[in-house]
Amino acid sequence: MKILSFAQAIEDAVNQAMADDPTVIIFGEDIHMIRRNLFLRFGGDRVRSTPISEASFVGAAVSASMAGLRPIVEVMLVDFIGVAMDALLNHAAKVETFSGGKWKAPLVVRAACGGGYGDGGQHQQTLWGWLAHIPGLSVVVPSTPADAGGLMLAAIEHDGPVIFLEHKMLADYWLDFMGAGNRKTVQFDVPPAGASGPVPATWQPTPLGKAAIRRQGDDLTIISIGVGVHRALEAADALAQQGVYASVIDLRTVAPLDKATICEMSAATGSVLVVDEDYEQFGLSGELAAVILEAGIPIKYRRVCTQETIPYARHLEDQILPNKQRIIDAALELSIG
């Protein structure tokens, strides 16, 4: 068993995919630096730096994928996907349907996401619910190195568009780039089990749409994704000391959603707490409630999400993003109420 950081695990899986399949190429801004190890191994034809022209190069990734390549296209931060949204919303997501199922767009859009380092509301969003809202797009958000590599391989092999989001509290190079900048004077709440961990010697795809159960408990079911899973696990430890036992589900993919696991685990406790770093309104947290209710499962329900534009100031941001205390408070409300 080897131990890799979250970022190394993704790169390891991409290395494997690129070595095995010459149609896998990477392009995006600053790729020769951000992916310089791949650039050195696979050369400038397969690892290309683009101009800052997201609308064009993400659109190009869609048609390149239709014409036989398997592009991994990078927009740095998911916030910047706004500039390229038409390519995803009206093209990548629609090709298969419009062509009567005859033409597919097997591309991966890779981006960093998430907050916790004081960079303001234009660089720290997660947006996975917003993206998953669009039929035809898959959205994956790993929380461990093993899932990061496995889901990246699955995303590359998938025959449709997949948005692959790596959280900056897990991917050390992004946190260094955006948050630390080589400073020793700033601290971040990095979940250790997410930042580094065991990975397989050879990567196998982690199936899209399959949640992982990270903890078992009889009193309530916490459903989360990304860094929220680690916050939920920390909260569950604290809750256990107060005699409240929580299950924690790591969705791993927002779309497709593992409805079977969600319903089974929710029915088991009858209490559901969603921990979602994405915006609260019209998003994943509401969708989860709908899925459970539509299945006829009566539940008590709470959610801990991001309710407004993420403030720049660290002390304000810390209150806005889902944190351990907010999760504990909501869980206690559920188990008492």
């Binding site: 801004e29 190890n37 022209s53 720049y312």
Partner: protein, 340 residues
């Protein structure tokens, strides 16, 4: 018309010292997140901003601090914003990439290219509501490759909007050499929209002042937009703590040793590109590091130092002005650190 070089120098020095203070606070961990400084762009900002009057609007990029300081936004409120205090310019909600001053019609954005459309909208409002006023877009040559920037140039020219596009060419799109991802040249690109485009040395504040004065006067008189293309430098990298800069300056440090080991391993791994392609990649990275080192060298152009040199024949006046600005910045710094 001749510019008041002393006044311009004062603005530039103030901005430089302010941002150097910001850098120290950031390094001390008192300012969070990324920090993109406008050090190296002071002559461009000063030469343009000094022509603006009440009612003119500013669309800024991620290096918005110098233009805002020069436009008259309270430096203390900017600094307290960067420190995340509730009495900062934006209540601690914005940070350095999202500075807004409605009183100055000045708005920033961290999305590359966003100042183009923003300036167009400000110019439409100027045309409709405040005839004779103008709007200015500041952006880099990297942003010139955004579709929205080219669309904005088209729109501004087609509608003859009172707008000045100010393209600050520091040669870098984050860590990509802009030349390598830019086809044609930006002057011809701007001219193809039918607007005047002026190329100048962005380290020469007098040249900027002259060109901007003419372009802004034209815009006020209903003659439509212009494009100012000014070369400048980026000595602090894309942002503080810039990885490329670290790699270039301390290639043999412990941290970089780890980075380099991965690179060497990747270079040597089986399966992949032919050796010639790999060597090209290695040369590309080495060339970037050399270019970065060049931009940090003692002979690299510095707009503040350049003007200082030409004004320092009047030693007494220079000493007084320097003392005044240093004192102001020290006072701001002292007040900024008082807890809310």
């Amino acid at each position: 018309m001749k510019p008041d070089l002393w006044q311009l120098y004062k603005q530039m020095l103030r901005s430089r010292l302010f941002e150097e203070a910001v850098k120290r606070l950031w390094e001390a961990g008192k300012i969070s997140g990324e920090m993109h400084l406008g050090i190296g762009e002071e002559a461009i900002a000063a030469g343009v901003i000094s022509h603006l009057v009440e009612g003119d609007a500013l669309a800024l990029d991620h290096r918005g601090t110098p233009p805002l300081l020069m436009r008259g936004v309270d430096p203390l409120s900017i600094l307290r914003e960067l420190l995340g205090y509730p009495d900062g310019l934006c209540g601690g909600m914005g940070g350095h990439m999202h500075l807004f001053s409605p009183a100055h019609l000045a708005a920033s954005s961290g999305i590359v290219g966003a100042s183009g459309p923003a300036a167009v909208g400000f110019a439409i409002a100027a045309q409709q509501l405040r005839p004779g006023t103008v709007s200015v877009a500041f952006f880099g040559e990297g942003a010139a490759n955004q579709g929205m920037m080219m669309e904005s140039m088209n729109l501004a020219a087609a509608w003859k909007l009172p707008l000045l596009f100010v393209c600050k060419d520091n040669q870098w799109s984050i860590t990509t050499v802009s030349e390598e991802t830019t086809a044609g040249d930006l002057i011809s690109r701007a001219r193809s929209f039918g607007m005047p485009a002026i190329e100048l040395d962005g380290n020469d504040v007098e040249a900027v002042w002259n060109a901007a004065g003419q372009a802004i006067a034209d815009a006020r008189n209903g003659l439509g937009p212009s494009f100012l293309y000014a070369q400048c430098s980026r000595p602090e990298g894309h942002l503080l703590g810039d990885m490329l800069l670290r790699l270039a300056e301390r290639p043999l440090s412990l941290e970089m040793g780890r980075v380099l080991r991965w690179q060497v391993n990747s270079f040597l791994r089986r399966k992949g590109a032919p050796i010639r392609a790999r060597a090209t990649s290695a040369r590309t990275i080495a060339a970037l590091m050399a270019k970065v080192r060049g931009s940090r060298s003692a002979v690299a152009p510095d707009p503040v130092a350049r003007l200082h040199q030409s004004l320092s024949t009047e030693g007494q006046r220079m000493a007084e002005l320097t003392g005044e600005v240093v004192g102001e910045i020290e006072q701001i710094l002292e007040s900024a650190l008082i807890p809310a």
